[in-house]
């Protein structure tokens, strides 16, 4: 590795709160060694000195909400050997994808004092809806350990170990008595992608689904469980429709779902 040119890392942002790319800056102990192993060529949060592509590894946070963004992500893809979308916005459209299920013009008029200055698409869509993505790292925000795993795996040329199983796996491994079974607390753990280490149940709270759907979701079985734990249909919708609204909504396609969404225009099939 030392005799070759260091791999070039780039970090790009689309519609997001920036939390996921800040996770990289949050890797305090690893940041210096990382800077020794990769050439950080593009990372506006860290430095305004940017270098042109091509890049070996591009980390992309944020969703696509404007026509310019849809164009920009195509350029980034063309410039990047490996593209990893990071966070709920980039992998599922984020909380801003609530607009996919409402009238965006109405939202705009309520939120902005001068709505006529705002030019936006009707939907907020994940990066993978626009360009091929090598890996989607879920989470709102992503987990620091998982981000480092992606980067170290990339550097070693191995497959990153990002299990697609449920939060319950981590919850049991951690030894937390299940909050649903032992206390009747509604919990999205059984349908949520592991990655957080089952943090909320370890504090006696149900999982909020920050990491989006796991690789194996049975939503028709999940919804009656949430109801039997005391949630109204409205509560169920609220719980599912936060950071990963579009990703969960895509799985609510049965009779059991409290509400059936119309598939928005331009959504990936």
């Amino acid at each position: 590795m030392t005799t070759q040119a260091r791999p070039r890392l780039a970090v790009f942002k689309f519609a997001s709160c920036d939390g996921c790319q800040l996770t990289l800056l949050d890797c305090e102990d690893e940041l210096l060694p990382l800077a020794g192993e990769v050439d950080i060529a593009y990372f506006l949060e860290a430095s305004s000195a940017v270098e042109p592509g091509p890049y070996d590894l591009a980390l992309v946070d944020g969703s696509i909400t404007t026509a310019e963004d849809a164009e920009r992500i195509r350029h980034i893809r063309a410039e990047s050997r490996h593209l990893v979308s990071i966070g709920a916005c980039a992998t599922a459209g984020g909380v801003q994808a609530l607009r996919n299920f409402a009238d965006v013009a109405e939202f705009r008029d309520i939120v902005y004092a001068r709505p006529e200055y705002i030019e936006t698409l009707a939907t907020s869509t994940p990066i993978a809806a626009h360009v091929p993505v090598d890996l989607e790292l879920q989470g709102c925000p992503i987990d620091r350990g998982q981000l480092l795993e992606v980067i170290t795996a990339f550097l070693a040329g191995r497959k990153p170990d990002i299990p697609r199983h449920s939060v319950c796996f981590a919850c049991k491994r951690r030894g937390t008595p299940c909050v649903t079974v032992a206390h009747g607390t509604p919990c999205l753990g059984p349908v949520t992608h592991a990655g957080c280490g089952a943090l909320c149940p370890s504090y006696g709270r149900g999982c909020y689904g920050c990491f989006g759907p796991s690789g194996s979701v049975n939503m028709p079985a999940m919804i009656p469980l949430l109801r039997s734990d005391g949630l109204s249909d409205q509560d169920v919708l609220r719980l599912l429709h936060t950071f990963n609204v579009a990703a969960f909504a895509e799985l609510e396609t049965t009779e059991e779902a409290p509400h059936r969404w119309a598939r928005p225009e331009g959504e990936r099939s």
Partner: protein, 391 residues
Amino acid sequence: MPSATTTRDPAPPACVLDRQGLDALVQALRARGRTVIGPTHRGGAIVLEELRSAAELPYGWGVELDGGHYRVVRREDEAAFAHSAGPQSWKNYLLPERVRQWTADRAPDGELTVRQERHPPASYAFLGVRPCDLRAIAIQDRVLLGGWHRDDAYQARRNGAFLIAVECTEPGATCFCVSMGTGPAAGPGYDIALTEVLDETGHRFLARAGTAEGAEVLAGLPQRDADAATRTAAAEAVESAAGRMGRSMPPVDLHTLMASSLEAERWDEVASRCLTCGNCTMACPTCFCTTTEDITDLTGDHAERWSRWESCYDLDFSHLPGGPVRQSGRSRYRQWLTHKLGTWWDQFGSSGCVGCGRCIVWCPVAIDITEEAHALHQEQLARRAAGEGTP
């Protein structure tokens, strides 16, 4: 499978310990350098933790169990072991969820050094091993030590574990050890076995040793000889427990039932309810599957291999070139049930289920292994009745 501790002596006479005697037992084991693990009431559950004294046992607490339901409830008496099927099992200690296997380092001159992990010698005493869990430990011994590839780290932990069984006198609504032939009386494998007795004559524990070390430990405790009344009360309490099992298996050869049910319609029905969340396998005291996890650091000069708990409910558990073999929830649930009750016999010569009921309690949607076995049995009977001679 030979006992991992010392050889068995001819049964020494039973004795009776009172609550002080039980506390002396904990202190004696601690004085021998053992970490005593046992049940305690914390956070709305009876969990396994290190006990510093017998006072930390859940005196006066019981559990209310059902499919997907667990509540700790106050009892009218002061029983210490009137609970069953907690969220963990002894596997959490004997087969920890994540264990480092080796590390590798590359020196600046390029030389590689690989070091096998040296596990510090564990010296546990497990207090309150239920008869079903005693059998579960024997089953994991067979799996992890009885084949070509022995797990030396497991062996070390197992050798260092002193087992104090407590017979069941208060089975839960999800228990079915009688069907599986594992309880409620303690089978072989314990160092000491206790039976809790609580009546007008007082709160006491009938104790007997199963190994020389068990006898030695018992001999050092304040005790009295076992009187006839205590022996009778203990025997009756265990016998009565056998008649109060909350669940049962169909009275058929489960191995044959599984082998002949591979295309049953019931799999579709149960798959429609199963979340594939993996809770049942993680809670099960015999489920032993692990996967390996390779870690490298940023420099690439340091690597580690870990093993961690894995489950047949994980989509990627059966990942082969081309993708997962068991894609559907149906195929994963079927894999689990038919392995537990059927192919485990072919592989290890016993059932993989001991009837502890944990998978029923800790399944968020209350999927019940006994109900599924009954349903498969009924479906088979119906099929036979409908078309004599057709397979």
